[in-house]
Symmetry: C2
Amino acid sequence: MKRRPTIMDVAARAGVSKSTVSLVLQRSDQVKPATRDAVKEAMAELGYVYNRAAAQLRSSSAGLIGLVINDLRNPFFTEFATVLQMSLADRGYSCVIGNSDETPALQARLIASMIEHGVTALVISPTYGAPDDAFDALARAELPVLQVLRQTDARTNLFPFSSFDYASGSAEAARHLIGQGARRIAFVGGQAGWAITEERMSGYLSEMAAAGLEPRVFHGPSSRAFGVEAAGGLLTQYPDTDGIICFNDLVALGMMSGLARLGRTVGPDLRLVGFDDIEECEQAWPQLSSVSCDISGFATETTARLLRWLDTGTRPEAETRMPVNLIARGSSLG
Amino acid sequence: MKRRPTIMDVAARAGVSKSTVSLVLQRSDQVKPATRDAVKEAMAELGYVYNRAAAQLRSSSAGLIGLVINDLRNPFFTEFATVLQMSLADRGYSCVIGNSDETPALQARLIASMIEHGVTALVISPTYGAPDDAFDALARAELPVLQVLRQTDARTNLFPFSSFDYASGSAEAARHLIGQGARRIAFVGGQAGWAITEERMSGYLSEMAAAGLEPRVFHGPSSRAFGVEAAGGLLTQYPDTDGIICFNDLVALGMMSGLARLGRTVGPDLRLVGFDDIEECEQAWPQLSSVSCDISGFATETTARLLRWLDTGTRPEAETRMPVNLIARGSSLG
DNA sequence: CTGAAAGCGCTTACAG
DNA sequence: CTGAAAGCGCTTACAG
């Protein structure tokens, strides 16, 4: 276990002081090019590796961003986390990541651990059901924190919130189904009481009311398994259903599968719309109509918003909503 | 921006020296319970937060594990990464994570950045096509490194490799299809030339040869999109195909969808088997037969293997294979 | 443009 | 069982 070379070793080899090496490391332009090159050569020769822990101790920033996600297995969040990690890596930042698995206790531990690691900032898609003081440790640490996709802490002035305009998305989906002739339209999925369920349902409820139609709502987990199971439950209770808007694509895709199992086909008699427009929608058969949320664009925008905050020191606006739009496909057309 | 309290502050408040505080932090049992409680109380009162960067600088370990994954969007790897992260969190470790996206240059940058962050160890499911010296930086850093799911560096004595026994899995799948009466069986998916493709195909090839049957192979990306597209290509070239083994479930699920689009149904005339047994197999209709790899068990086993290495200092055996087993479902039965 | 010096917040022998 | 001291590898004013 030989000692890793330090800036002292590099300095000695390059014949400069360690301050100069440090300046080269920080790409300072007050170092003469010739000196810089000599230092870089010495680094290469010695196999020098930058020690971020030491740098962080002194300057209190290690280029580490914390990422806490409520459900990393859901492809919607996987895509968000992956694109965010990759775009941050492009800008020289690393990511510590944690799946809170919709569990407040786990989320609390993850947050604490990321603060200990001295993350520069935190991006969190929070778990519902956590105590109101869940973010207090973050406030005390005076850490830049972005709430994304879900807002659980009301202090959006402290923890800016960004998401999609879900309400108008479900309104568009409802108008689309009504326009296609559907009348007995159900909303399926989404945990009762979650703010995001309310948001994704609100446009449906208002459009149904505007059209004088009776809503029918089936809440449940946002999983494929629930969709499969809900197909039977829904058709038992409301056999005449002719349109379905699902809380998300997983539920919708599960529903398609559950309906197929019951011998029902999705199409003119039973129109189906999902939410999120994950990649799989296009590959399903029939192709799944969905309210498209550009999650990859949202992730790069999140990176941009965060780095602007870190660079300029000005907090982003309290709430931002990215537009969504319905992609109508075979499951609700024809 | 007030200064965070340090162990000095805690020591002062508790009326002990900072060494004692440090010992409490490390759960040393040479501190008298009464003293320990006093220190803990002082910490709580001051809102003390452990500074891992400082600890790491001194002791060169921050409880950070690096995780480099070739394709984080593939649910098989997502599940692995998620379970690994969660089981490591259970043991007090955090994860820096990076998606190399099957890109050698990205992988190299991720590895370098993780070394700079001073990770305690690295778990990598590597990208194919990287230069032979891709792992050299890791060897120089003398970092414990586990190659998982794919082996790209031959030095398994340095970088122990663990994966599944894919060859016997595809053999079992082939025997199953032959037993069900299929004779014109194709293997679809997997990039030509990748070791993992060879492994997953080898059992199929040997069983076909043993049964005196002609193999038919369609290589391509391991994605759902490829599966959709391959359905047409396969049936055009070999319309009489009566059995298909796919490189992974994504290809198989895409294939199911592509076949449905062409008006073909999976079942007695065209039996289908996937690989990995991701959760979706059970929810598809017909349910998808698949070679089950217990990826979640593999992830917790990886955590155990890694921590054993860190705790005892003895490197795990050079190669480990977890058994797999075929789960026969509707797509290949009846 | 470069160097000497202090210090970030811990851990780790070493005394006592 | 507890304390005093050194040092991990950087960055950051401050001189020159």
